[in-house]
């Protein structure tokens, strides 16, 4: 039995972070009666612990629901949730490609934000019909009229009749469901055409192998069909097809043109099913693949090392498993003199890095030492060769370097007028190049800057939030590379360079950074029997220095009543702590020292 396409709606919800996307998704699922209220765990679509805790969506999720519309027909909704954070733009983009329309959620108090714009443009790029929804109208500060004007003026889409809802209380959510039926298009495509389906995500299941999430554009797919991935050329026989129930995979007989669902085919390797690839029938292939996604390249690299060197194989296994579900994560083995064996890992951004780090620590019980994140620099050597540098330690000798380039981003910052000055200052400090400023309305402006990526990967978000008291939002995209005056800053502890602490920095800020690093490290390195100089150096030139004084007294004065067990435990604990430190030369450096230099701007 196949479903008539005209009763299918494939859509996603897009929004600025915190505007209520996931809450609306929950409410839609609840209202359509697919779940009872009791089954309804808050935010059904965010199913990783981490996602629920942080209130953000990391992986895209899909769910199929059935809606009995006011016109008397039963509609199938495929709701595809998309991540909200700028780091995960690639996920957004591939999810959008599986949809025919998008619901744009705008907070009735906050109005249009930088990511609202970014996401709308992304949706329009994919030819999606966008229907706006004004959320949080139950808030005392809600001003739907103003927000409607803003949507029309700034984004340029009709918003007069936009549903005004409260996803939290469920108010007017039916209006959204009816708008989906009436204002979003049904999918197109012919069941009789050769199979042409888009992979928009995949996850690894230990029993079924890779579960490939697809949107069927043309044709149909059934269990037993021979399929081919057009880019990777991998071929498989389909074992199972199905759709996305609430939190579970529901097998069905076939997926036809216009449907969203999944395919399993005993696929062992996630790299065979690259997101963006087109699935077709081996024996009856389509003429050409669907327009794919751009390959995503990591923007931020850092070294990940197990705190306990013996856990290196565990870390490797964990990264392997994480990569099965996260094609954007890249890693390769590296060694550090200070930290031993570890991996140089590439991430989409700092949030992605943090999430991977947290998942490794929580889900795989690993204790990690992370080195300072670095962007990818281009080093042009005098012999004409160009190196993409992901690890500062690999920087060639200065005499071999002709010039270096660093990545820059086009940044858009939306900020209320009170804080424009503060934010412009911040951008200035971060070597930003001013492009333009447009007033969205009287009290809010959109600032455009070109910023070096390495200036925003550390703590730019935090600085932005604190300097605008939370009234600024930020979005960016890669713009390219520009020539820059960069140097490698080395840290020497007791005259020994510590490779894991080296980083590339803009020459003009090297002194300041070096000084802060030394100060920070002084507080982290325990005293030894001898004095330990901590130096920051560029080449042979020392630009900052601190000293950790020698320890003079470390003694348990009293050993009372012959009860030495307690003292022994104390000493054992100290010993345990020391074992977890890294030795560089004859200095023990605690893990926290490596981490502390990541947060230099804390006051």
């Amino acid at each position: 039995m196949s479903i008539d396409k005209k009763y299918i709606r494939n859509f996603c919800i897009i929004a600025h972070i915190d505007h209520g996307k996931s809450t609306l998704a929950d409410r839609i699922i609840e209202k359509t009666g697919l779940l009872t209220e009791r089954e309804m765990q808050s935010q059904v679509l965010d199913n990783m612990d981490l996602e629920r805790e942080r209130g953000i969506t990391i992986k895209s999720q899909a769910v199929r629901i059935v809606y009995n519309a006011r016109d008397g027909h039963e509609y199938i909704f495929n709701l595809i949730d998309t991540p909200g954070h700028v780091d995960f733009n690639y996920e957004v983009s591939r999810s959008l490609a599986a949809c025919d329309g998008a619901i744009l959620v705008v907070d009735a108090a906050q109005g249009v934000e930088a990511q609202t714009l970014a996401n709308v443009y992304l949706a329009l790029d994919h030819d999606l019909d966008v229907i706006p929804v004004i959320n949080k109208i139950d808030l005392p500060s809600a001003d739907p009229k103003r927000v409607i004007d803003e949507i029309e003026d700034v984004i340029g889409i009709e918003a007069e009749n936009a549903p005004q809802i409260s996803a939290k209380t469920g108010l007017n959510v039916e209006d959204v469901l009816e708008a989906i039926v009436n204002d979003l298009p049904a999918p197109t495509g012919e069941n009789n055409n050769p199979l042409q389906a888009l992979i928009f995500d995949s996850i690894y299941d230990p029993y079924k192998g890779v579960i490939v999430f697809i949107r069927v554009k043309e044709g149909m797919v059934r269990p037993g069909d021979p399929i081919r991935m057009m880019a990777s050329k991998a071929e498989f026989d389909v074992v199972e097809v199905g759709y996305f129930g609430a939190g579970q995979f529901v097998p069905c007989d076939e997926l036809t043109a216009g449907m969203v669902g999944y395919v399993t085919a005993s696929i062992k390797n996630v790299s065979d099913t690259r997101v963006g690839d087109t699935v077709t029938n081996r024996d009856n292939p389509c003429n050409e693949p669907l327009p794919g996604y751009k390959k995503v390249n990591p923007m931020v690299y850092c070294g990940l090392y197990p705190a306990d060197g013996a856990k290196y194989p565990d870390l490797r296994d964990a990264l392997e498993k994480l990569q099965l579900n996260d094609a954007a994560l890249q890693y390769e083995p590296e060694t550090s003199i200070a930290l031993g064996f570890g991996f140089r890992c590439g991430f989409l951004g700092l949030l992605h890095l943090e999430i991977i780090q947290e998942r490794l620590e929580r889900e795989y019980n690993l204790d990690l030492v992370t080195t300072a994140p670095s962007v990818v620099y281009r080093v042009h050597k005098t012999d004409g060769e160009m190196i993409e540098l992901t690890n500062p330690s690999n920087l060639p000798d200065p005499s071999e370097i002709d010039y270096m380039e660093e990545p820059v981003v086009a940044a858009e910052i939306m900020v209320t007028s009170d804080y424009i000055g503060a934010i412009m200052n911040l951008c200035q400090e971060r070597r930003g190049e001013y492009i333009s400023m447009e007033y969205m309305e009287e009290t809010r402006a959109l600032l455009k800057y070109t910023l070096p990526l390495n200036e925003i990967i550390y703590d730019f978000f935090d600085a932005l939030k604190s300097r605008s008291r939370g009234y600024a939002s930020f979005d960016y995209e890669m713009k390219g590379y520009v020539k820059s005056n960069l140097v490698k800053l080395d840290i020497l502890i007791n005259k020994e360079p510590v490779d894991a602490l080296s980083f590339i920095v803009f020459e003009g800020t090297a002194y300041e950074r070096g000084r802060k690093m030394c100060e920070k490290l002084k507080g982290e390195i325990p005293r030894h029997l001898f004095e330990i100089p901590i130096q920051a150096a560029i080449g042979n030139k020392v630009i900052a220095r601190e000293t950790v004084k020698a320890v003079r007294k470390d003694v348990l004065a009293k050993c009372y009543g012959g009860d030495i067990s307690r003292k022994k435990k104390l000493l054992e604990k100290q010993k345990e702590g020391k074992k977890r430190m890294r030795q560089v030369g004859n200095v023990d450096i605690p893990q926290s020292a490596f981490m502390s230099v990541l947060k230099l701007d804390e006051n």
Binding site: R527, L529, K549, V551, R552, K553, D554, V555, L556, A557, K558, C559, Y560, G561, G562, D563, I564, S565, K568, L571, E572, Q574, K575, K578
Partner: protein, 401 residues
Amino acid sequence: MRTNLDNSNKEIELYIHIPFCVKKCNYCDFLSFAPDTFTNDLLTKEMYVNALCSELEFKSRIYGNNTVTSIFIGGGTPSSLATSLIVRIMDSVHSFFKVAIDAEITIECNPGTVDFEALSIYKSLGINRLSFGLQSTDNNELKLLGRIHDYRSFVNSIEATLKAGFDNYNVDIMYGLPGQNISILHKTLSDVTRFSPKHLSVYSLIIEEGTPFYEKYNDDYIIQCQGKITSFLPKESELCEMTDFVKAFLKGRGYNQYEISNYAKNGYECRHNIGYWKRAEYIGIGLGAASLYDNVRYKNITDIDKFIKNWSMSNPISEYESKESLSDDEAMAEFMILGLRMNEGVSADEFHNIFGRSLGDVYKENIHELIQQGLIVNEGGRIRPTSNGLELQNIIAGKFI
């Protein structure tokens, strides 16, 4: 391995714990109850001493064949017990254990809690050494520490001590106190050495968890341990100066330092404490008391009601809070860690006699490293801590753990 019990005749020490005091001091984390807790009343004390006697009897059946070479009655403040109770304890000891004729028998006293009469009775019981918890002769410091006595009551107690015929007594002194400087410490040391006590224990203050001092000074203490600028406690460098001062001052008065915190006139080193550092075998009697016997460390339970109940039954129950059998490696490590607290350090021959292995082989690298670091020296068949090493004992100990 040595054979266990009954027929063995070894030298052992007895430690007897009295968990009562007149007032809990601000720095003290020892197991002791002040009168403001409901476990310090005459009846409880009476029942506790009954329990002690019952424990002595019970343990004498296990360890009674050995010869007791030293007894230490500690606390708390043992002298806060009625003299009649001390009499009962000592009577039990003598009736259940063989006590060597020249045994060192010490009782801890608080200045102001003993008079001539009590001290005379102690003397008649065979007690031949007193230990006074003086801490300071500066009345402001004594108040800060929460001590019950003042300098005057200490002077009275010492006069009574001499009158009762004790020539061997110890005085505890504390330094590194909040607000202290060298001149206050100098005053305390001059005041005390005027009486020429045979023994001095001079401790630097340790801030222990669960004490009023912990609440008040622990943040400062951490800063001190990091060598940074403190607000109340002396800076680490000042503390080191004080340590050097104590050593020099006492040396000039004829006291030899024989352990990190202990100084004595020739021949008056505390045999009981040396026993702990040389891993003599000792039996702890009383609440929370620790024992070491046949390379097993025991610790008695610390719940006083349960303790009294256990030992008051017609079939008493001997219950430990912990019992740890030491492996050879652990015993060797203890030998080094404890032995290197003493100025004379450890003897390679003694090590060989006890463990049947060569000290130089077992700890070759550890010793080499510590010599390199200037913390110990290897001379004449002994490994000794340097004066620097004495102050960095935790680092030495860390090498053997």
